[in-house]
């Protein structure tokens, strides 16, 4: 299949970027990133600068890949990362627009690569359970209801990719943050620090320059792990409760 690619090129965060157009011959069995590999191989053979993009596992789990494809973070397929998207989802002759994940808190490093370290700092602000190595009791000492464990697991599936913030017109990180708050807060082990955790993670989110949440729901639609906005509702409730308590 023959494709027309319009790819965003930008030297760094300070320079102005623009689209570059290329045609690529691809096979429908290729993954989207393999199609990008083909483009890069050609650029290199022409002694040109290849398109920079993040990727690593190519299995939909590391959260590195990050492209906005035809206006949608991770492209058109529901619940799928860019690396898991295959060319059979496109048609011969299609024009495909490829851009980086854009959000105020994600500066552009080069081309399609953005700096998502703000997410790490949100986790550092409280996205953990305070237990030192060696302090734990037996793993079966606290039974956890199966459904509860599964709910926590669903939230814990977040891969930290940033599609939610890139999808949100406000550039909000609510889905990411609330997923962590739910994962830990739903489990008995994480309940103890829950209130403090909610407050400090929300504060860090604001400090990083992520926008507010106005319940648009684009985050849930684009999230490759289909993390539910129920987590946002839960976090909002708990945040509200926490502010009442602390006042």
């Amino acid at each position: 299949m023959k494709l027309n690619l319009k790819v965003w090129r930008q030297k760094n965060n300070d320079s102005k970027g623009s689209f570059e157009t290329h045609t690529v011959n691809a096979s429908e069995h290729m993954s989207f990133l393999e199609m990008m590999d083909v483009l890069n191989e050609r650029l290199i053979s022409e002694k040109k600068d290849p398109v920079a993009f993040e990727h690593d596992c190519r299995e939909g789990i590391c959260g590195a890949c990050s492209m906005v494809i035809n206006g949608r973070p991770h492209g058109p397929q529901q619940g799928t990362t860019t690396c898991q998207l295959h060319m059979r989802k496109f048609k011969d002759g299609d024009t495909i627009v490829v851009e980086p994940f854009r959000a105020k808190a994600f500066p552009i490093l080069k081309d399609l690569v953005v700096d998502r370290s703000a997410f790490d700092r949100i986790i550092q602000s409280g996205g953990y359970i305070s237990v030192n190595t060696g302090q734990a009791t037996d793993g079966n000492s606290v039974p956890i209801e199966k459904d509860l464990a599964l709910k926590a697991f669903d939230a814990a599936q977040c891969i930290g990719c940033g599609a939610c913030a890139a999808a949100c017109p406000n550039g909000s990180a609510m889905l990411f943050t609330s997923a962590k708050v739910s994962h830990l807060g739903l489990l008995p082990q994480g309940e103890v620090e829950h209130t403090k955790r909610v407050q400090s993670m929300v504060a860090q989110m604001d400090e990083e320059g992520f926008g507010f949440c106005s319940n648009i729901g684009a985050c849930e639609v684009e999230c490759p792990k289909e993390i539910s906005t129920e987590n946002i509702a839960r976090m909002n409730r708990d945040y509200f409760k926490a502010s009442l308590v602390s006042e």
């Binding site: 053979s45 600068d49 994962h183």
Partner: protein, 665 residues
Amino acid sequence: MELKNNVPVGELSEKWTQYRSTMNLVAPNNKRRIEIIVVGTGLAGASAAATLGELGYNVKCFSFHDSPRRAHSIAAQGGINAAKNYQNDGDSVYRLFYDTIKGGDYRSREANVHRLAEASVDIIDQCVAQGVPFAREYGGLLANRSFGGVQVSRTFYAKGQTGQQLLIGAYQALSRQIASGSVKMYNKHEMLDVVKMDGKARGIIARNLKTGSIERHAAHCVVLATGGYGNVFYLSTNAMGSNVTAAWKAVKRGALMANPCYTQIHPTCIPVSGDYQSKLTLMSESLRNDGRVWVPNKIEDAEAIREGRKNALDIPENERDYYLERRYPAFGNLVPRDVASRAAKVACDEGKGVSPTGLAVYLDFASAIERYGKGEALSKGIKNPSSSQIIELGEAVIAQKYGNLFEMYEKITGENPYKLPMKIYPAVHYTMGGLWVDYNLETNVPGLFALGEANFSDHGANRLGASALMQGLADGYFVIPYTIGQFLSGEIRTPSIDPNAKEFEEAEKNVRSLLDKLISVKGNKSVESFHRRLGKLVWEYCGMSRNAEGLEKGRKLIRELREEFYQDVFIPGSADEFNPELEKAVRVADFLELGEVMMVDALNRNESCGGHFREEYATPEGEAKRNDKDYAYVAAWSWSEDGNHKLHKEELTFENVELKTRSYK
């Protein structure tokens, strides 16, 4: 050089406990003054950095990823072993120890393996306390499943995303230490050299990948937890960035590479489909709990399938060869990985492969779906369920256990594995070889430690499923925090290491000249193209089966390829900017050297054991033939520019298990 493994004396089951209680300690006020560099934030590195930070050391932690959470460990699927015996099925620390020694085909060090089995129990407790959402039973207790090579159910899991959940646990523990200031994190920094002063490891040279600047980092000791080197094969199940560079730079500074030829070829991966392919995808071994492996009995049927005239469902039950169940009745589909992989190769070599390339066998869930469906119907009180009801109920059970794997399979292949059996083929997955370390996980370079997949220590010639996660976390949470004290207790009077010392200057120069050399070739071929060619060579001559002639030839071809690389590689851009092609080039340059040493090692080992199968050394039934008299040793290699790589041996002594021919029949 004599290799001292420093295994403490005493009864096997008492060694670790006794050693721990008599070890040298570093007092809290001294810990604050001591700096430790940890390279890597996979399970091994993140758990080590977090725990060392908790203990009060000053830790600097490095990763070439943009976040610690992206380390390759994130992709582990199936599970983690622990000798908890929660299932009351006869498991014990000794049994886990024994299974691991046997699974490794008697090529690992008894004392290390026993310690690993002991630590396994604490790992699960630690992870649960951190909030790792392991799978649970209806009663709220932890669930288990089985993995290959064992007859108990000791694998803990979180759907097919166990590595993700464990790594996030370790990442969160690490994040907590970063927040507290005890760990300073350097993301997107790639270590490109180890700095030695007076023979001890005292720092690293790292390249800031965002800016290209070269940095010196000093510390009292250096811990490498930089993962495995499976990507020397180009196509593997490893993440694209996994590489040998950190370990290889250590080898260049005098550390030894142990058993580099021991690579694990995983039996259940999605087969190769085209030349453009960049990586292979694993289908977790846990699937062999419920999937049955088969090929058609008749070559004509296999041909018809390959040509698209028939599909799996057209082959009646009595015309299928469930070859693992037939050849290994005691373990059936759950034989260890090396055995299952070779059996798949044999079936395909006989012409019974089922994909257009001829390189695939079936992994079929139909029986499991039916079995589970009937069970569900019974427990839901449905009398006389219809067959479509049974299938629906059964598929739901399978979806709960392996849903994400089935989805992944469908996304990649476009086929629905609930309806048609999966097609699978072996692929490179894990490297048992790695930096030689003693009982303290210290390499032969004092102050240089290696953890996780980067070391060679626990899996012998073949690793059992769900044991790498266990080893990474054992090393990081429960071993290194103690054993590092053996070295550091002698360093409490050592002042901060000076990054302006001449050794740092020399190492920095070394790195700069390597980068310049690569950039200035300005040839005509991409880095990727060399990597791909290297991978083909290593797979062809040092893959699932090897022979002396092929290894000699492979070695020669790799040397030629290396020469060509330095004459004709093209790297766009410069060294002082963000430059992913340059990053790849450095890694491929090291793979080109490692690949040669793998062949040398495989050639030296005139026996078959575990993942190392030499065609000359096989039984008439095609099983591996070990030679304990001459090869019960660890082969640790030093690198030499002139090609005379030197072998150093650590004899393996077995005092607690009897060396037997491995049988899974």
